[in-house]
């Protein structure tokens, strides 16, 4: 393509009218096809095996595209936080930036350095992406749905896998997430990548502990591992578990940042120290896969946290509105609510990223092992005792325990000589090395 | 050894030298223009004046004399006391400097001497910061006084060093001071330009930018140049030189003081003879003949190739057994192989190559290469000699050949034997700046089946060589030359060889089966263990700036 052509195409893309036109041209045939094929997919929609898979496909489609949007959002938020505009050249208000980015990733030279461990080098990004995507299987996107043409009283679920172990599955899959990073770091045969991989391992192993402990607090209250159950409980009672276990929620949020390698815990890819960390040697689509994996991981993580603490698809707290409504429009509404919550959650994660500076690695480890793990243990013990005495029946009991634990910790912190994180005089200066 | 006191410091010095020389040797920076240790003393610049203690006419007590004395013209006497750091001396220097700058143009930015100019340095160290001169400065035209020299009369301080040099050292006396007083200027006789075999030295001698080298004119600023200690390959005298280079290019060559050979001077051959280093037609990649045509070769493949080919040419046992042991084949081994060691090679290179050849073929013939001789030795009045033998290391190679013994030959004999097809293989080293492969040499060498030519330029041997190796010039190598009197002098590498060329030393080092970098010093130590002649090198003492 000549420069002029490129310029002309760029100019056209900047025109919102052109965008609307292209959209309309694409939408009309799509709508036609959908209408004509209605009897065909009606059967699929009411089948308990196929419908969740369709939901899955839709969600995957949404998420893989959402990643592109996320990148734009990230850059926009970064820009806004720093009093800039962010990308605003490609398309109206920079909206086509993801397309440009994607094209760039596709067209860049795909380099495999000479001395890498080739099988592992190729495996790592795939592993990272796969692991971050399979977690979606247990997310109850919109509860049950009853299609108008179905028999009365029957519903189909929008959840792919209604696993008995629900949340354990998420943890199991999440714990595999580290392999992609470690292998990338190892296979790259580059010391910066290597350090990134080591950091990723240590960090993710460490933060799985407080994550699990905080999860246990909720599970003690809910009495089930099934995510759909947990969401149902919240939707029906209207009491989201964030009101019951605010401290556990805080722990989970902190751990999520660490598990997804997001700032302020993005030590494995700390640019200033490690060039690019574990993905230093990756380029083009292989790098894009890591990118994709990171955002997919964020979406999974926030979806799980929302299911556990923020009522899942429940639109409003303190009301059971929509809880038992299985109409198709309610399903769509719930789905929309869920996605909106995820989007907000991710927005907060980005907001945090552009606010809080990165931790030092020893601080990071100290935070996990010295602050979060004891805090999680304490909280879990307290909630366990509470549950023993039937405390799960009144929602404010959990809140009380959380507040008590928090106050106790504050009191302890006030008494102790050293801050909970930060410099500690009696220890040798380097505790965990520079990994 | 007389002792004198300069500025309250007692200094021991050689007898009979001027106080100025003693002070300079003691490390004092006494300004001077006209004084040069190699020339007669005229005491005309009046810049080196000093105070001296003399007996008081009445009391006979030693007191500072009221007038100043030229330190260059006052020989040292035991116990004399002089001083340069007095107000009177400094005043004198300041006023003399101001006088010199009356008419001197301030064109330092375009003057080639800037950076090594006495006037500049002394003005900064001793002179006034500004001129009180309000009249127009005198202007004189540039003069073209010789094939190599330009005279910028405006810049001249009339120290007459150049005049004295032509009279005393070169003995030709082309230059003279004409006119008198403020109209005095340096000039040549009409029709008798400054043209003698040592003429380049007047440019170095000139303390200011009055005499300039046409060759170097406008080329570089001197502070950009890097000076490397070297030995001139122009003749067998072993004149020591500085190679001034910048950005891997030689820009000029200056004499390097050497009390045993050339003192402060060098011949024009040594000074201007480096141009061949940058000739564009130099060989720049090794080539190997395959099926009649030359193909470019990699440097790495050459050592194995040469080794195996020479071993093949050796009749009898294989290389593995081929030590010097008394096997029945030894008598035959390598009879058909010859190595021609050029007198342009350094001792180290010659030794490594000779050892390599003897290693592969113990009975090989070692030949001292073509020794170019032009005319007769030319000796100048004060003893400076330009040798007729135009190669630097004939004696070094001879010493090595004599030490290694076995079959040796001189170049003529070798050619004769070659014509008789006595040699199957030969390694010929050239390295001469001029054409040396005359038709008869080429014809004789054509009889050699496997001919390895290691040379700088393409020659008639091009069509005959089986392997052609590009050589490096002396400025691109390091090593030692042994001059015709047996004086062993080291030279350093000034520039890197052109792209594609490996320095000879490095190549023969690898050829000899060694890995790593060639260090002339290490090789020399090995040689010294066998040959005491190479145990000690002569490095002349280095003179401080402005102290010649």
């Amino acid at each position: 393509m000549t420069n002029q052509t490129i310029q002309r195409v760029e100019g056209a893309l900047r025109n919102p009218l052109v965008l609307v036109g292209v959209g309309a041209v694409l939408t009309v045939p799509a709508a036609l096809v959908l209408v004509l094929a209605f009897p065909l997919y009606r059967g699929l929609l009411s089948d308990p095996f196929w419908f969740p898979l369709l939901v899955m496909a839709a969600v995957l489609f949404l998420i893989l595209n959402a990643t592109a949007v996320c990148i734009l959002a990230e850059r926009k938020i970064a820009g806004f936080t720093q009093d800039r505009y962010g990308p605003n050249r490609v398309g109206f208000w920079g909206l086509l930036q993801p397309v440009a980015d994607g094209l760039k990733f596709l067209l860049k030279e795909d380099i495999i350095p000479r001395r890498v461990d080739k099988p592992l080098f190729l495996l790592a990004p795939c592993l990272a992406l796969i692991v971050s995507l399979v977690g979606f299987a247990v997310i109850p996107w919109a509860g049950e749905v009853h299609w108008p043409w179905m028999e009365a009283g029957t519903t189909v679920s929008t959840q792919v896998a209604r696993l008995d172990i629900g949340i354990l599955y998420v943890i199991a899959v999440g714990s595999l997430g580290v392999y992609g990073l470690v292998l990338a770091g190892y296979a790259s045969n580059n010391k910066y990548s290597f350090y990134g991989g080591l950091r990723a391992t240590a960090q993710m192993i460490s933060y799985e502990l407080p994550l699990g402990l905080a999860l246990l607090c909720v599970l003690l209250t809910t009495g089930t591992l099934r995510l759909e159950e947990i969401v149902n409980q919240q939707a029906h009672s209207g009491v989201w578990y964030v009101f019951v276990h605010p401290l556990a929620f805080l722990l989970i949020v902190i751990c999520l940042f660490a598990e997804t390698n997001r700032a302020p815990f993005d030590l494995p890819e700390a640019e200033q120290e490690l060039v690019g960390g574990y993905h230093t040697e990756y380029s083009a689509m292989k790098f894009a896969l890591f990118f994709l994996a990171e955002y997919a991981h964020m979406i999974t993580g926030s979806a799980v946290a929302i299911a556990l603490f923020l009522g899942g698809w429940a639109p409003l707290p303190f009301t059971s509105w929509l809880a038992d409504n299985t109409a198709w429009w309610a399903m769509l509404l719930k789905f929309g609510v869920y996605l909106l919550k995820v989007a907000l959650f991710i927005g907060v994660m980005m907001w945090v990223r552009w606010t809080i500076p990165r931790f030092r690695f020893d601080q990071l480890m100290r935070l996990a092992w010295r602050s979060l793990v004891p805090l999680g243990l304490l909280l879990m013990a307290a909630v366990a005792v509470l549950t023993l005495f039937g405390g799960q029946r009144v929602w404010w009991a959990g809140l009380g325990v959380n507040v008590l634990v928090l106050l106790g910790v504050l009191w302890w912190a006030a008494r102790s000589k050293q801050p909970m994180t930060g410099r500690q005089e009696d220890l040798p200066p380097v505790e965990f090395g520079a990994m | 050894m007389p002792k004198i006191i300069i500025d309250g410091r007692e200094i021991e010095c050689r007898a009979g030298i001027p106080v100025l020389q003693a002070a300079l040797e003691a490390g004092l920076a006494v300004p001077h223009y006209c004084y040069h240790p190699g020339l007669s003393i005229v005491a005309s610049c009046r810049l080196c004046l000093m105070e001296m203690k003399l007996p008081h006419p009445q009391t006979r007590e030693l007191v500072w004399a009221p007038k100043l004395f030229p330190s260059c013209q006052t020989p040292v006497q035991d116990g004399m006391e002089v001083r340069f750091d007095s107000a009177a001396v400094r005043d004198n220097q300041k006023h003399v400097m101001e006088y010199y700058l009356l008419n001197h143009p301030l064109d330092c930015p375009v003057c080639d001497k800037a950076g090594e100019c006495y006037l500049q340095d002394y003005t900064e160290a001793h002179g006034p910061g500004s001129s009180r001169m309000v009249e127009d400065k005198q202007k004189n035209p540039k003069k073209d006084i010789g094939p190599h020299t330009l005279l910028y009369q405006d810049r001249c301080v009339l120290c007459s060093r150049c005049v004295r040099f032509c009279d005393e050292i070169a003995g030709t006396g082309e230059l003279a001071v004409v006119n008198r007083g403020s109209r005095g200027e340096i000039d040549v006789f009409p029709g008798r330009p400054l043209d003698n075999p040592l003429q380049g030295n007047v440019v170095d001698l000139c303390p200011v930018g009055a005499l300039l080298d046409k060759d170097f004119l406008f080329k570089q600023r001197v502070w950009l140049l890097r000076s490397t200690k070297s030995v001139s390959p122009a003749d067998s005298g072993g004149q020591t030189i500085w190679i001034d280079s910048n950005e891997q290019g030689i820009h000029r060559i200056r004499p390097r003081y050497n009390e045993r050979v050339n003192e402060w001077w060098i011949s024009d051959e040594a000074r201007f003879g480096w141009k061949y280093v940058h000739r564009p037609d130099r060989l720049n990649r090794p080539q190997v003949r395959e099926a009649g045509t030359m193909r470019p070769a990699r440097w790495e493949e050459l050592p194995t190739l040469l080794r195996s080919r020479f071993a093949e040419m050796t009749p009898g046992a294989s290389l593995a057994e081929g030590a010097l042991g008394p096997s029945p084949d030894t008598a035959l081994k390598g009879r058909g192989i010859a190595a021609v060691l050029s007198p342009m090679m350094s001792c180290e290179e010659a030794w490594l190559l000779a050892r390599f050849v003897r290693d592969v073929a113990p009975q090989a013939t070692l030949v001292l290469g073509h020794v170019p001789v032009v005319g007769e030795d030319q000796t100048f009045p004060k003893g400076f000699t330009i040798k007729a033998e135009k190669c630097p290391n004939r004696r070094g190679v001879e010493t090595i050949l004599r030490h290694l013994g076995g079959h040796t030959a001189d170049f003529r004999t070798f050619l004769g034997q070659a014509v008789e097809r006595r040699f199957d293989a030969a390694y010929i080293v050239g390295g001469y700046p001029d054409v040396w492969v005359t038709p008869d040499v080429a014809d004789a060498l054509a009889k050699v089946e496997f001919l390895v030519v290691h040379d700088l330029f393409p020659s008639r041997l091009n069509e005959r060589a089986a392997v052609q190796i590009p050589g490096a010039t002396w400025a691109e190598r390091e090593g030692t030359f042994m001059n015709c009197d047996g004086l062993l002098q080291p030279f350093e590498r000034a520039i890197v060889p052109p792209e594609g060329v490996k320095s000879d030393g490095q190549f023969v080092y690898e050829l000899a089966g060694r890995s790593g970098l060639f260090h002339a010093r290490k090789v020399r130590d090995e040689m010294a263990a066998e040959m005491p002649q190479f145990a000690e090198v002569f490095v002349p003492r280095e003179l401080p700036k402005h102290a010649h």
Binding site: I171, L176, I205, P428 | -
Partner: protein, 228 residues
Amino acid sequence: MAGLLTIILALGAVGLFLALPGGQARAVRAGQIGLAASGVGLLAATLGWLFPWPGANFFAGCALVALFAAVRVITHPRPVYSALYFVLLILAAAALLVQMQAEFLAAALVIVYAGAILVTYVFVIMLAQQARPLVHDIRSHEPLLGCLAGFLLLWSIAVRLFAAPVPPAVPAADLPAAGTVAAVGTSLLTTYVIAMQLAGLLLLAALVGAIAIARRRPLRDPLLEGEE
């Protein structure tokens, strides 16, 4: 049947012995061929089992992957790959457990082994990575005895298994829900409560011990000590 099985398993054992790291390249190649032949034979022998109930194929596939991964764990010359094949083995085993309605066990296996222990292995292998593999990494220890023991074990299991009749197809829904979280939890806290408490105590002791070993002594500064 038993004789054929013995031959197949013996072939596998010899193949494994040859394929273990540290041998000659040709021997390793031969061993790999032997292993493959043994695998094919095993597949053929179990062919009768393969289609009796839906999901059995999935079971067989997972089992084969697990076997293959297990063989690679001990035959791969590079520790990192061994560890990764171990991960694959764990995942395949977890899939088998899911087949048997033991979801909790599957999740626990993945969390504990793949998510914690093997990550630590990989971590340690990476940290201890040498410029070239160490002798004990590239040479197997007691290959003969190991292969023999493995062969005997596998042989006895296989012969017993094949002696039994082909298991009937049981619909998944009819299986007792022994693997659910509730069932596991109930049995842990009733039948096996003492064992569990003991295990907990043991783990606690191990934890305390680990902390005691890993704790860093404060640096002794003679100057500071003098002041005290």
